[in-house]
C-alpha cells in the first residue's frame, strides 16, 4: 500500500501538472497587468540588480504603486534565465508551485488521517478549477499559499515527531509566505496563534518559540518595509485596498445622507458581508470564478459543483476523521477569508489559502461517502469528471476568446508586427489606452521592454518620468496636435483612428484584432 500511495500521488501530481503547465503561452491569452509587472521586474533585477524604478534589490516592488510582495520576482529569476522573456519565463514558477501543491496536500492528508485521505485530497486539488486557473498565471498569491501550506505541513510533522528542526523550517516557510504575498501578513500570525491554541494541552507554549522566532526574524524586513512604505507613500494602492478606504465607502461616509451611527454600522457590516460571501454556495460551486460575464451559461465556482456533497459531509465528520487536528483544520478554513474580507474586492486571488483546508475537508466527505455508499461515491466521481470536462472546455477553449481586454491583449502582437520596421524609423509612438472605447490604460512600456524592444539598462537609464525609452515613446495620441513626419510609426488604440490631416499622412498598415474578432490596436506608418 505504501508504494502504491506514492505511485498514485505521483500520477495524480503529473496529471494535475499537465493541466497547469501545458500551453502557458496560449492561455491566459496574454500576460496580464500584474503579470507583466512581475515579469519585467524579475527580468530587470536579473540583468541590472534593480527594478524598473531603479530600486536596488527592493523588499517590495513599487510596480504601479501597489508595492508588490517581492518573493515571486526573485524566485522567478532562474526561470526567466532558462526560458527567456516569454510567458513561460514568468508563469512557469506559478505552474510548478501549483503542481507541487498537489503533492504537498497529499502529504498533509496522509499526515492528518492516512493514505486514503492523502490520495483523495490530491485528486480534488489536481482537478480544482480555481487552483488550475491561478497556477496558469503569475500570481504571487499562489506561490504564497503553497509556501504557507508547506509551513503548516511542517507544523503537523512537528506535532508527531517533536523535533526542533521541523519547527524552525515551519517558521522559515511561514516567514517566506509573508515575503510572497500581502494576505499572509495577516493570516500567518492568526495560524500561529490557532496552532498554539488547538494543541495547548499537548505542546507547551515555550516549545513553539523556535517557530515563532524564526517566522518573526524572517518576516521582519518585510514588516519594516511595509511600515516605511506607509510613511513614505501613504496613498499607495496597497493601503487603499482596505475596505473603508475604497472610493465607494469614503464617498458614503463623507456625502451619505444617513445619520453617522448608521453610516458607521453599515461600513462595519461591509467586511462581515465580504467574509460571508466566501462561504456562499454560489461562490464556492457555481460562479465564484468569474470566468465569464454575468448571465453566461458557462460559469464555475472555486470548486467543482459535484464536490458540494463532499464539503457538506466533510464538515459533519471532520472531527471524527481528523480527530484533535480537526479543530485546527476547521479554524484554518474559517480564518482564511478574514484578511481578504477586509479589502474592497474579497472574492479574488487574495483568498487562495482558502483552497487548501477546503480540499482537506472535502477529502473527509469523500471518504465518508465512499464508506457509506460505494454506488453514490462512484456516481459522484463520474459526474465530477464530466464537471471537470466542462470546466476544461470553458477554460481552455472559450475563456481565451473573451478575455482580450482583461489581459491587455495586443501589445505583444503589436510589437511583433512593428519589430521588422523599427530599424527604418526614428520613433515608435505607442498609446497606453486600449479597449473598444479606449477606456483602459495599459502598461506598454513594460510589455515592449519585456518582449525586447529595448534592454533593461535603457529602461533604467531613461530620463526621469519620461516614457521615451530607446526608439519607443509611450503617450496619448491627439491627432490634431500631433506633428506627423516620415520618421514615426504609431500604435494607436482602436478607439482613436486617424482624423483630418493625419489621414492624408499616414497609412493604416495593420490592425491588431483580439481573439473575439474585435479590433484592439491600429498600426500606422507614414505614406510614401
Amino acid at each position: 500500500m505504501k508504494n502504491r500511495f506514492w505511485l498514485w500521488v505521483i500520477i495524480i501530481t503529473l496529471i494535475g501538472g499537465v493541466f497547469r503547465m501545458v500551453g502557458l503561452d496560449k492561455n491566459p491569452i496574454h500576460l496580464g497587468n500584474d503579470e507583466i509587472s512581475i515579469a519585467y521586474d524579475s527580468y530587470s533585477v536579473r540583468i541590472t540588480g534593480m527594478d524598473e524604478h531603479r530600486k536596488k534589490l527592493p523588499l517590495s516592488f513599487i510596480s504601479h504603486r501597489d508595492y508588490k510582495a517581492p518573493l515571486y520576482a526573485y524566485f522567478n529569476i532562474p526561470f526567466n534565465y532558462i526560458f527567456g522573456n516569454n510567458e513561460y519565463g514568468v508563469r512557469f514558477l506559478s505552474a510548478i508551485t501549483g503542481t507541487l501543491a498537489i503533492f504537498l496536500i497529499a502529504l498533509i492528508g496522509k499526515e492528518l488521517a492516512g493514505e486514503k485521505i492523502g490520495i483523495m485530497s490530491a485528486i480534488l486539488l489536481a482537478l480544482d478549477p480555481k487552483s488550475v486557473f491561478v497556477s496558469r498565471a503569475a500570481y504571487e498569491s499562489n506561490l504564497a499559499s503553497v509556501i504557507l501550506l508547506l509551513g503548516i505541513y511542517l507544523m503537523f510533522l512537528y506535532k508527531r515527531k517533536r523535533r526542533v528542526l521541523e519547527l524552525i523550517l515551519a517558521g522559515l516557510f511561514f516567514g517566506l509566505s509573508i515575503w510572497a504575498y500581502h494576505t499572509e501578513k495577516g493570516l500567518v500570525p492568526l495560524i500561529l496563534v490557532v496552532g498554539w491554541w488547538c494543541w495547548k494541552k499537548e505542546v507547551k507554549f515555550t516549545n513553539w518559540l523556535p517557530m515563532w522566532l524564526t517566522t518573526g526574524l524572517v518576516s521582519l524586513p518585510i514588516f519594516y518595509d511595509f511600515v516605511t512604505v506607509q510613511m513614505r507613500d501613504p496613498f499607495n494602492r496597497a493601503s487603499s485596498q482596505i475596505w473603508f478606504k475604497t472610493a465607494g465607502v469614503q464617498n458614503y461616509w463623507l456625502n451619505g445622507s444617513d445619520f453617522w451611527i448608521k453610516k458607521l454600522a453599515k461600513i462595519l457590516a461591509e467586511p462581515i458581508y465580504n467574509y460571508g460571501q466566501h462561504f456562499g454556495l454560489d461562490f464556492l460551486f457555481t460562479n465564484g470564478m468569474d470566468l465569464f460575464p454575468k448571465n453566461e451559461p458557462f460559469n464555475f465556482g472555486w470548486f467543482l459543483l459535484v464536490t458540494a456533497p463532499f464539503l457538506f459531509f466533510g464538515l459533519l465528520n471532520l472531527k471524527k476523521v481528523f480527530k484533535e487536528k480537526g479543530n485546527f483544520v476547521l479554524l484554518w478554513w474559517l480564518l482564511c477569508p478574514l484578511v481578504p474580507a477586509l479589502t474592497g474586492s474579497p472574492a479574488s486571488v487574495r483568498n487562495l489559502p482558502f483552497i487548501m483546508p477546503t480540499i482537506l475537508i472535502m477529502a473527509v466527505g469523500m471518504k465518508i461517502i465512499l464508506e457509506k455508499s460505494k454506488k453514490f461515491f462512484w456516481l459522484l466521481i463520474l459526474l465530477g469528471l464530466v464537471n471537470f470536462i466542462y470546466f476544461g472546455i470553458a477554460y481552455y477553449v472559450h475563456f481565451p476568446k473573451i478575455t482580450g481586454d482583461n489581459y491587455q491583449y495586443g501589445y505583444k502582437q503589436a510589437f511583433e508586427e512593428v519589430k521588422p520596421l523599427v530599424a527604418d524609423y526614428k520613433w515608435v509612438v505607442i498609446e497606453p489606452r486600449f479597449g473598444e472605447f479606449g477606456q483602459y490604460v495599459g502598461l506598454p512600456r513594460l510589455y515592449f521592454g519585456y518582449w525586447g524592444a529595448f534592454d533593461a539598462w535603457e529602461m533604467i537609464n531613461r530620463i526621469d518620468t519620461s516614457d521615451k525609452i530607446g526608439k519607443y515613446w509611450v503617450k496619448n495620441i491627439d491627432w490634431n496636435q500631433e506633428d506627423i513626419n516620415k520618421e514615426t510609426i504609431y500604435i494607436a488604440s482602436v478607439s482613436n483612428p486617424t482624423v483630418n490631416d493625419s489621414i492624408e499622412k499616414l497609412d493604416l498598415w495593420k490592425t491588431i484584432y483580439k481573439p473575439d474578432g474585435k479590433g484592439q490596436f491600429l498600426i500606422y506608418i507614414p505614406k510614401e
Binding site: 454600522a265 457590516a269 462581515i272 460571508g276 462561504f279 448571465n295 451559461p297 472559450h398 476568446k401
Partner: protein
C-alpha cells in the same frame, strides 16, 4: 420558557423580520399576504394527503409574485414570461450559439452534446445556489435573524420528528424563484417567510447566547 419570554421572543422575531421582509407585505396585494399568513398556519395543521396540492399552489403563487406567470380568471388568460426566465432570456441562447461556433474544432455530434439548451440549467443553478447562501439570508433578515435561523435550522435537523414538508416548501420556493434571471431578492423569498419565521422561532427557543442576540439585534437596528 415562560409566556413573557415567548411574547418577547415573538416581538424580537417580528422586529428582525420587519427590517425588510415584513415591510414588503404592504407592497403586495392583500390576498397574497393573507394567503401567506394562512400558509403559516398550514405548517402546523397540514394534512399530508393534500400537501402536494398546497405546494403546487405555492409554486403558482410564487411565479405570479415574481412576475413570471400572469393569470386572469375573469377572462381565462395564462401567460408565462419566457423572456425573463432562464429558459429564454435574451442573450443566453446567443451565448450558447457563440460557444457552439467557437467549438467548431469539435465534431458535430460532440458540439451538440456540449452546447445545447440544457446549459441554461446552469443559470438556474447559479441563482439557486445564491439564494441558498448564508450571506444572502443575512442580508435579507439581518444578522440577528440569520443567527436565529441558523440555530433553528440546526435544531430542526437534529429533531427526529422534523417535518420535511417544511424544508420542501422552502426549497421549492427558492427553486422556482431561481427561474427568474433578474429580479428582486425580496420577491424571491417572500413566500418562504412563514418557514423562515418558524425556524427563527425555533432558533430563539434554543438560543443560549442572549447577549449576543441582543448585540446583533442592536446592530441590525442601526443598519
Amino acid at each position: 420558557m415562560g409566556n413573557l419570554e415567548k411574547i418577547l421572543g415573538l416581538l424580537i422575531i417580528w422586529l428582525v423580520l420587519s427590517f425588510d421582509s415584513l415591510m414588503l407585505i404592504n407592497s403586495f396585494s392583500w390576498w397574497i399576504s393573507l394567503l401567506m399568513f394562512w400558509s403559516f398556519w398550514f405548517i402546523f395543521k397540514q394534512k399530508k394527503k393534500y400537501f402536494w396540492i398546497f405546494l403546487l399552489g405555492l409554486v403558482i403563487l410564487n411565479l405570479i409574485i415574481n412576475d413570471l406567470l400572469f393569470l386572469r380568471l375573469d377572462k381565462p388568460f395564462i401567460l408565462f414570461d419566457w423572456e425573463q426566465s432562464i429558459w429564454n432570456y435574451p442573450g443566453v441562447t446567443k451565448s450558447i450559439e457563440r460557444y457552439r461556433y467557437e467549438g467548431l474544432f469539435l465534431p458535430f455530434h460532440l458540439r451538440n452534446l456540449f452546447y445545447s439548451a440544457y446549459l441554461k440549467f446552469s443559470l438556474w443553478l447559479i441563482n439557486f445556489s445564491k439564494l441558498l447562501s448564508p450571506y444572502f439570508w443575512i442580508k435579507a433578515i439581518g444578522f440577528s435573524g440569520g443567527w436565529l435561523m441558523f440555530l433553528g435550522l440546526a435544531d430542526f435537523f437534529k429533531d427526529k420528528n422534523r417535518d420535511l414538508g417544511i424544508l420542501v416548501w422552502f426549497l421549492l420556493i427558492l427553486a422556482t424563484s431561481s427561474w427568474r434571471m433578474i429580479g428582486s431578492s425580496e420577491k424571491f423569498i417572500f413566500l418562504t417567510l412563514p418557514v423562515v419565521f418558524y425556524w427563527i422561532y425555533r432558533g430563539f427557543k434554543v438560543n443560549k447566547y442572549k447577549l449576543l442576540l441582543a448585540g446583533l439585534l442592536i446592530f441590525d437596528l442601526l443598519l
